[in-house]
């Protein structure tokens, strides 16, 4: 099982997914992120999915779940760098990721988080 690294930059946790997401690695990421949020009390999470080419309904739902978990720690989640094909797939699956902020790239995602505080 591959592990997704979580980097802390200032008050933000930065997660860049560079692997083909498997169900178990997403669950692992969810657990790791919860631990990290509890330990660092970060105020924002950026999930970069530029390298993700394939998503299914499970992964789509997991992204929403991660956002909900982060909100419990008072951290806002921004998903950045979604590919058009992935966006179309999620829409066709009926997953609009409500409650999750999105941005075109990591820079804009950071701007959203900084604007908030």
């Amino acid at each position: 099982m591959e592990q997704v690294p979580i980097l802390k930059i200032g008050q933000t946790l930065f997660v860049s997914i560079q692997i083909d997401l498997q169900d178990d690695s997403v669950v692992r990421l969810q657990e790791d992120l919860a631990e990290e949020l509890a330990a660092t009390s970060a105020s924002g999470v950026i999930i970069d999915i530029t390298a993700v080419e394939i998503v299914d309904s499970f992964i789509g739902r997991m992204l929403s779940t991660i956002a909900s978990i982060s909100r419990l720690f008072d951290a806002e989640t921004v998903i950045v760098g979604m590919r058009p094909a992935v966006a179309i797939t999620l829409t066709e699956l009926g997953l609009s990721l409500s409650g999750v902020r999105t941005a075109l790239n990591a820079e804009k995602g950071l701007a959203i988080l900084n604007g908030k505080t």
């Binding site: 058009p84 179309i88 066709e92 990721l97 999105t102 075109l104 804009k108």
Partner: protein, 288 residues
């Protein structure tokens, strides 16, 4: 094409009366198409067909049948593109029967030959019809592709603001194309505001609305805000009476209003130039 043993005599007969039959045939065809093609041109086309028909009748070689079909196909295609009706095209072939009949009417011993010949011409006539409709189908398919390509431009209105002026009826295939193009442009230009202008969409029903909502939510997943503009009064009434909910998607009456909103969201505003008494100068943008 099976022309049997009677073909040979007919071929000799046609070869013998080549000029007479061809002239009469050309005359009949030219009368049928009412001067849209010159007699000389028609004679050239028919001359080729004529010699191929003679070759097929004489069973001189195996290639003749294929060549005849190919040149008939070509003739029908040109006619289809030239705007001739299918009956006019088929008549070009059928009139050969009249031309020959006028000659053989007095010659009683050629009757079985003529009947075989007649069947063959009928078959050829049907083929022109088939080729004609094939060519028409092709034209329609080409036009549909051309329309699809023409109808989905994505334009840049400002730094970070793009617009998609939609023209024509939206169906699933077009929405898919529009969605892909819009999302690709959002990614490549880094724009975070998109205006979907539906001034050119004649009707909005539940299906079209569904397509629009899908496009907007896909754009949102990329992190871009969408504004729908150009809703005409009748369209607004239809939308309300159908009970379509656009939810929290911003809608504006005109593209100008939508651009204004997008500029505000991007933290920009348009101000008149204040230097000097002239007020008709260009308008500049200032950051907020």
């Amino acid at each position: 094409m099976d022309v049997g043993v009677t073909g040979g005599r007919m071929a000799d007969y046609l070869r013998e009366h080549h000029d007479k039959v061809l002239d009469r045939w050309t005359e009949l065809v030219v009368a049928g198409i009412r001067g849209r093609t010159s007699a000389q041109e028609v004679k050239g086309e028919l001359g080729d067909l004529y010699s191929l028909i003679v070759r097929v009748l004489a069973e001189a070689d195996d290639h003749a049948v294929g060549e005849l079909r190919a040149s008939l196909y070509e003739l029908s295609r040109t006619r289809a593109r030239g705007g001739y009706t299918p009956s006019e095209t088929a008549l070009s072939v059928f009139t050969l029967k009249d031309a020959v009949y006028e000659l053989v009417a007095d010659t009683a011993d050629l009757v079985p030959e003529y009947l075989t010949f007649s069947r063959m011409i009928d078959d050829l006539g049907l083929r022109t019809f088939e080729a004609y409709s094939e060519a028409r189908e092709q034209i329609i398919a080409d036009q549909a592709t051309a329309m699809m390509e023409l109808s989905t431009p994505v334009v840049r209105l400002w730094d970070g603001i793009i617009a998609v002026p939609l023209v024509g009826t939206l169906d699933s295939a077009r929405t898919q194309l529009v969605m892909e193009k819009l999302l690709d442009t959002l990614v490549t230009t880094g724009a975070d505001h998109a205006v979907i202008d539906i001034t050119g969409v004649p009707t909005v029903d539940t299906e079209v609305a569904q397509h629009l909502l899908k496009t907007v939510s896909a754009a949102r997943l990329l992190g871009a805000d969408c504004i729908i503009s150009g809703i005409r009064p009748q369209v607004a009434q239809t939308i309300v009476s159908l009970g379509i909910e656009f939810g929290d998607i911003a809608t504006k009456a005109s593209l100008a209003d939508a651009l204004g909103l997008a500029l505000r969201q991007a933290g920009l505003k348009v101000v008149p130039v204040v230097t000097g008494p002239v007020v008709t100068g260009p308008v500049v943008m200032g950051g907020a």
